[in-house]
């Protein structure tokens, strides 16, 4: 039974939906039911991930390949976004600080908001849009064209080969990308500061290092692992269990982005609560 549910959650959902129709329950009930079925099947998907990630053989080569695809190929996009965010944030904050005569705080303030919050979150959202939807669409189209079945038949565990490698590499790559985004963002901020007036690179960096401490960096870094994990997992889940049919591919990609972005905000909220709990 458990196995069947893992393999065809959509069928289960459809079946149950049919059943509830025949017993004339209200539509709200069926939506409710559907929601819990979805939650239970994604939970099971997550449990299966943890079971299979520990069990040898390990797909090391494919993990490397995926990390390259997912991480390296996202660099340009993350760099451009990071730079613009740093630049814009600096330009926008200047007038407010100028009102209080605190323009000299500009680098420090931008650094804190960038590193603590905006860098990781923007990077994760970009990542959800690019990588989450990419994984969703790729696995869904493999599902539609029976490539996943073909893998299973040829003696490969498709969950391990496709899902585990993708979830792991997005978990490992997003933190690196976020650090990179922070760095490029600070560069953007440096440019922004120098658009009006002159601040030397040395002064700029010493102001940044004064305002940032370990308690800013560490929680911000840790949460990006969770972002990456959630994005990889949601993308894989939506793709792996997509409807068979061409419209299934688009739907998988689309709902992967929506759901993954939502997860990013939820995780971020929890992370902020946790950090403030520990810091007080």
């Amino acid at each position: 039974m458990e196995n069947v549910l893992l393999q065809h959650p959509e069928n289960e959902i459809q079946e149950t939906a049919e059943l509830s129709e025949s017993t004339s329950e209200s539509p709200a009930d069926s939506v409710f039911h559907k929601f819990f079925l979805e939650v239970s099947s994604i939970t099971m998907f997550t449990l299966r991930f943890f079971k299979e990630v520990l069990k040898p053989p390990y797909e090391f080569k494919e993990l490397m390949n995926q990390s390259f695809q997912i991480g390296y190929k996202s660099l340009p996009l993350v760099a451009i976004t990071g730079f613009i965010i740093g630049l814009v944030l600096t330009i926008q904050s200047r007038p407010t600080l100028a009102k209080f005569g605190a323009v000299s705080w500009l680098p420090g303030m931008v650094a804190v908001s960038l590193v603590r919050e905006i860098g990781p979150v923007i990077c994760a959202l970009i990542f959800a849009g690019k990588v989450g939807s990419g994984i969703g669409a790729e696995l869904a189209s493999m599902n539609v064209t029976e490539q996943i079945d073909a893998m299973q038949v040829s003696g490969t565990n498709p969950f391990k080969y496709l899902v585990v490698t993708r979830v792991l590499s997005s978990t490992l790559m997003l933190p690196l990308l976020a650090v990179f985004a922070d760095a490029v963002g600070l560069l953007g901020s440096f440019v922004g500061v120098n658009l009006n007036g002159h601040v030397s690179a040395f002064l700029f960096s010493s102001q940044i290092f004064q305002s940032l401490d370990f308690r800013d960096l560490f929680p911000a870094f840790i949460k990006t692992f969770f972002f990456g994990f959630a994005i990889g997992l949601v993308g894989s889940y939506k793709g792996y269990y997509s409807n068979k049919g061409t419209e299934g591919v688009g739907k998988a990609a689309n709902s992967a982005v929506v759901f993954a972005s939502l997860m990013v905000f939820i995780i971020d909220m929890i992370a902020v609560q946790m950090t403030s709990l520990f810091q007080n």
């Binding site: 079946e15 038949v153 040829s154 003696g155």
Partner: protein, 259 residues
């Protein structure tokens, strides 16, 4: 009756007496309220080509997917090469599945890989110790068998429908399976290419003594390849026999497949 036909008939009889490689007893499978397979009893003999006919949506694909384990059956018994599938552990089941080849209705080519990589993938996965030279020669041989040697470095998306089918076949055959399951090997192909594929299926049977199940709507293909034909209707078998027997069946519905 021509000499060739007599020979063929003797061969059909011969296959019937071979040992059983796949055995199904009272097999049942439903999807929700949709009872697809209601009561399937089936024996596939060593070295025979068994053709399954039936209307679209009657569960032909589901039937062979049960054999290879892509679909879990609900009730009944399934024995493959003398082993009861329900009693096997995951690992033993994996080993057993390696002896079964499956040609997908759609070809199911890995479109992120080149033709060569498509063929290397199953080899790599099955034995980690295989050398580069061994792999190269197996890939070349497999492509030669299906007449695709020139396409080795192309992407699957750059192949025609018939070439894709043949590549799918080559990828399945590269592991030299004992049991081959073909899901509509000739659908969507022109008559000449269909005939070529049918020829390949026969060649495989003769060369490796493979036992095969062939699902098809293409009556020419059935005629060329079948030692025995089964007609599926409403989740059970409505008729069974050789091509010439069923062609003259008393049941008009069965006969309609052969017109």
């Amino acid at each position: 009756m021509t000499a060739a036909a007599t020979h063929r008939k003797a061969e059909d009889e011969n296959k019937k007496n071979g040992s059983v490689v796949v055995k199904m007893e009272h097999l049942k499978k439903s999807f929700g309220n949709n009872r697809v397979l209601r009561n399937i009893d089936l024996a596939i003999h060593k070295g025979e080509n068994l053709v399954i006919l039936g209307k679209s949506g009657t569960g032909k694909s589901v039937l062979i997917k049960c054999i290879v384990g892509l679909v879990d059956y609900d009730e009944g018994k399934l024995e493959i090469l003398g082993e009861d599938v329900a009693e096997l552990k995951e690992k033993a089941l994996g080993e057993l599945r390696k002896k079964i080849g499956f040609l997908f209705q759609s070809g199911a080519l890995y479109d992120s890989m080149s033709v060569r990589e498509n063929l290397e993938f199953p080899l790599r996965r099955q034995s980690h110790s295989i050398s580069k030279e061994q792999m190269d020669s197996l890939v070349k041989e497999a492509l030669q068998n299906v007449g695709l040697s020139d396409a080795i470095d192309r992407a699957p998306s750059a192949l025609s429908g018939g070439m894709r089918k043949r590549l799918g076949l080559a990828r399945t055959l590269i592991l030299k399976p004992e049991i081959m399951l073909y899901d509509e090997p000739t659908t969507g192909l022109d008559p000449i290419t269909s005939k070529e594929i049918s020829g390949l299926i026969l060649e495989i049977q003769n060369k490796y003594d493979t036992s095969s199940v062939i699902i098809t709507h293409d009556i020419e293909c059935a005629k060329l390849t079948a030692n025995r034909i089964i007609v599926l209707k409403d989740g059970t078998f409505a008729a069974e026999g050789t091509y010439s027997e069923l062609e003259k069946s008393a049941d008009a519905w069965v006969r309609s497949f052969f017109e």
